[in-house]
């Protein structure tokens, strides 16, 4: 039991779920039972020997052909989720990656200089006080509803604006961490021995930061998804919003998950499942990345925390030594590595089977 408690469960569960969502994002359209334009009209089906009239909106978990139900127009919700997954996951990963690469490089170099620009620090602080979603709303609002740009162009605009707005905070974070490491003796020794800035940064500073940057990257994915969701509440959907009048309805052009939440907002009062299905999907997606980030934190963290002298409500226990198996002369394998290897293998096999249209 202690061994199970000691296992880094958030890492394994988070890794498995993230792989699952990446699989859905890539292979979603291949997995969908119905095409995107398939619409349920009123039909009569026999389910469990009973005759049932199937009419939109089909409730979730009632009709096997439509496992998550349909919206009020008759479009299958599972199909919409599978087609929209690539936009949700893809946009979040691309934005986070761009932000971390740019912010990391600039932050590393900025932190390696002896002097700090007080002007730039003031800019960083000012931008961090204003919610990013607010600026994005006013910039995207004129171009998102009934757009003249194509969906992919709008997505690029979002990625660009989001990256620019949240870059100062990424630079600030990396810069502060770099400045702490620059003060260390081994960096000073390297500098004294003649190491130039590039060598100092990439051979001495970056190896100390790479784990922290990986965790930051995963949390940034969650942050981008959250901002997409906030914009979705205000009918600014990724890839464009179709606004129809009489009655006024907003439809997502890409079926991206935050857009599905935004367009189903009216179902707060009835037919909750139409709102809940994309909502739970987005919650699961963000939760999986958060679990992965926590797991990575647990994995990389060296706990220098002192034992508390007062009751804190926690039971302290010494960590058990990690089990390691030796394979051959050099390779040491832990159970965790085996578990993650199995997940990766399953992922690769599933991708081949689905994309190769074997299944």
């Amino acid at each position: 039991m202690n061994r199970i408690r000691q296992m880094n469960l958030p890492l394994y569960i988070g890794f498995f779920l993230v792989l699952g969502f990446i699989f859905i994002a890539v292979a979603g359209p291949n997995l969908a039972i119905h095409p995107l334009d398939h619409k349920v009209e009123v039909e009569y089906q026999r389910i469990d020997g009973k005759g049932v009239v199937v009419a939109p909106p089909v409730q979730a978990f009632t009709v096997p052909d439509y496992p998550l139900g349909t919206d009020k127009y008759g479009y299958d919700l599972l199909t919409k989720l599978l087609y929209g997954a690539k936009y949700t996951i893809g946009i979040a990963v691309a934005t986070a990656l761009l932000k971390m690469v740019l912010g990391g490089v600039i932050g590393l170099y900025a932190g390696s200089f002896k002097s700090e620009w007080s002007f730039w620090k003031a800019v960083e602080n000012s931008v961090s006080y204003i919610p990013v979603f607010l600026i994005l709303y006013f910039v995207l609002q004129p171009i998102t509803i009934n757009p003249s740009l194509k969906s992919i162009e709008l997505i690029f605009v979002f990625i660009f604006v989001m990256t620019v707005l949240s870059l100062p905070s990424a630079i600030a974070s990396v810069r502060k961490q770099t400045r702490e490491i620059v003060k260390k003796e081994y960096v000073e020794v390297a500098r004294t021995l003649g190491a130039r800035r590039n060598r100092l940064i990439w051979k001495h500073i970056f190896p100390q930061l790479k784990e922290g940057l990986l965790i930051m990257f995963v949390m940034e994915i969650v942050f981008v998804m959250t901002v997409m969701g906030q914009l979705g509440i205000f009918h600014l959907f990724m890839g464009g919003t179709i606004k129809q009048t009489m009655p006024t309805i907003y439809l997502s052009m890409t079926n991206e998950w935050a857009g599905l939440i935004g367009q189903s907002r009216g179902h707060i009062f009835g037919n909750h499942f139409i709102l809940m299905v994309p909502l739970v999907a987005l919650v699961l997606a963000t939760s999986s990345f958060v679990l992965l980030a926590r797991g990575l934190q647990n994995h990389f963290q060296t706990d220098y925390q002192k034992a508390p002298w007062i009751p804190t409500g926690r039971t302290s226990h010494q960590p058990l030594p990690k089990m390691k198996m030796r394979m051959g002369d050099r390779l040491k394998v832990t159970p965790g590595l085996v578990i993650m290897g199995v997940f990766l293998l399953l992922f690769a096999v599933s991708m081949v089977l689905v994309l190769g249209e074997v299944v």
């Binding site: 006080y129 509440i233 963000t286």
Partner: protein
């Protein structure tokens, strides 16, 4: 001082850019155009706008409503976080409660807000008890619901930070000294742990406030609270947007100062210097 002035100037520039963006970025059949000249025209028109005429009784009422909502929500969140993360953290029963909150903290804030609204609707459908109202004139009777929903985000944010800091400080040598002198746990938590946590709380207050303002837009929009954010989205012209955003900035500053003052009073009243 110089940094504060630069920060103020940068924030005003951002507000001007944000307010003018819907009128500068034009979406037409020919594509998207950015009218830079329009931005300059809008900025130059600022002195000629009759600002006093726009700040009428209805606007002041909106400001007051948003101010109360923001202040009470942040205070509630901070109090909840301090109590659960520090003062009662030692009791094992609250450890389970904290564990549950850690699970809830994984969910993005806006989804928690939507879940809360759906829960409110469900409670009415099951029991007939109305916990919230979407009618603007009946808002005040159920004002506590938007306040509670808005306080969730700062509560989760501060709780996580305060509890981590509590665990760090509780291992320090001065705490060990206090324990060895026979001081009781409540005194140690207040006089030693909280006292050393104060600077950290002050440093994180602005981030917590910024996070709450982001959620304020969603709460006022979803729950139809007639506040400043409602004014910003409803009256779609440059002076209204700029006025609304500046008023929100001023409200945020007041809320920040009031909370700092309350923390100051708490320190002066209960913490030995």
């Amino acid at each position: 001082m110089k940094n504060s002035i630069i920060q103020g100037v940068v924030m005003i520039i951002i507000l001007l850019f944000v307010s003018s963006a819907p009128f500068v970025i034009i979406n037409s059949f020919e594509g998207v155009k950015i009218e830079y000249g329009m931005m300059i025209e809008l900025v130059q028109s600022i002195p000629s706008i009759d600002w006093l005429n726009r700040i009428d009784a209805a606007f002041i009422e909106r400001m007051v409503r948003t101010f109360i909502l923001l202040l009470v929500a942040v205070l509630l969140g901070l109090t909840f976080a301090l109590v659960l993360g520090l003062f009662v953290a030692r009791f094992k029963v609250f450890r389970l409660f904290r564990g549950l909150i850690e699970v809830i903290a994984i969910i993005p804030d806006f989804i928690i807000i939507i879940f809360s609204v759906v829960l409110g609707v469900q409670i009415y459908q099951w029991t007939g008890i109305r916990v919230m109202s979407f009618m603007p004139d009946k808002n005040t009777a159920h004002f506590w619901f938007p306040v509670m929903v808005l306080s969730i985000a700062p509560a989760l944010y501060f709780l996580k930070l305060i509890h981590v800091r509590f665990l760090q400080i509780s291992g320090e040598d001065y705490v060990r000294t206090a324990v060895s002198k026979g001081l009781d746990i409540t005194t140690i938590n207040l006089q030693y742990v909280y006292r050393n946590m104060q600077p950290f709380i002050h440093a994180e207050l602005t981030k917590g406030l910024s996070l709450t303002i982001g959620n304020l837009f969603i709460v006022e929009y979803l729950l139809n609270v007639i506040g400043l954010t409602h004014y910003i989205f409803a009256v779609k012209d440059f002076p209204a947007t700029l006025l609304g955003l500046c008023a929100l900035l001023i409200i945020a500053l007041f809320v920040f100062l009031i909370i700092k003052f309350i923390l100051f009073l708490f320190r002066k009243g209960l913490i030995y210097e």
